[in-house]
Amino acid sequence: MSEVEVEEHFKRLTNNKYVEGVLIVNEDGQTIKSNLDPTLNKKYSDLITKLVDHATTCVKEMDETNDLSFLRVRTKKHEIMIVPDKEYLLIVIQNPEKK
């Protein structure tokens, strides 16, 4: 496992024909890897980090022993898939309509 494999995993996602964007941020919303343009990247990282905080709090308040493992935000135009972790977030934007 090394940086090369991280690059490979990242490429496999960005090359997927349904994927419109891939963004990896740390818990503060700072970008580690992304293929989005800077303005979109800033907007998505800030907003989605906050949304994940809310979702995690919501899950914890319902059941202290539970935890958020995946969030799918389907909108009219696309779907945002978010895999949260203690320190990082993987955010992938896809357009399922083409299926």
């Binding site: 991280v6 990242f10 970008t31």
Partner: protein, 61 residues
């Protein structure tokens, strides 16, 4: 929480390099990309109303 208030600086190049080569990060990428890829490979769109007959389905788009 001062950090959150002022405009969040981007990660320095060194920090980014350190994170990308750290075990936790590589494991996170391996685990999380697998989940997303499985979700991507579902070729079934639960939002789509497949019952609408093929030809007029395109008019809905």
């Amino acid at each position: 929480e001062k950090k959150k208030m002022q405009q969040l600086k981007d990660i320095s190049e060194d920090d980014r390099k350190k994170i990308i080569s750290s075990n936790e990060f590589v494991e996170f990428i391996d685990h999380s990309t697998k989940i997303v890829e499985r979700a991507l490979n579902e070729n079934y769109d639960y939002m789509k109303d497949y019952s609408i007959i093929k030809d007029n389905e395109n008019d809905d788009q």
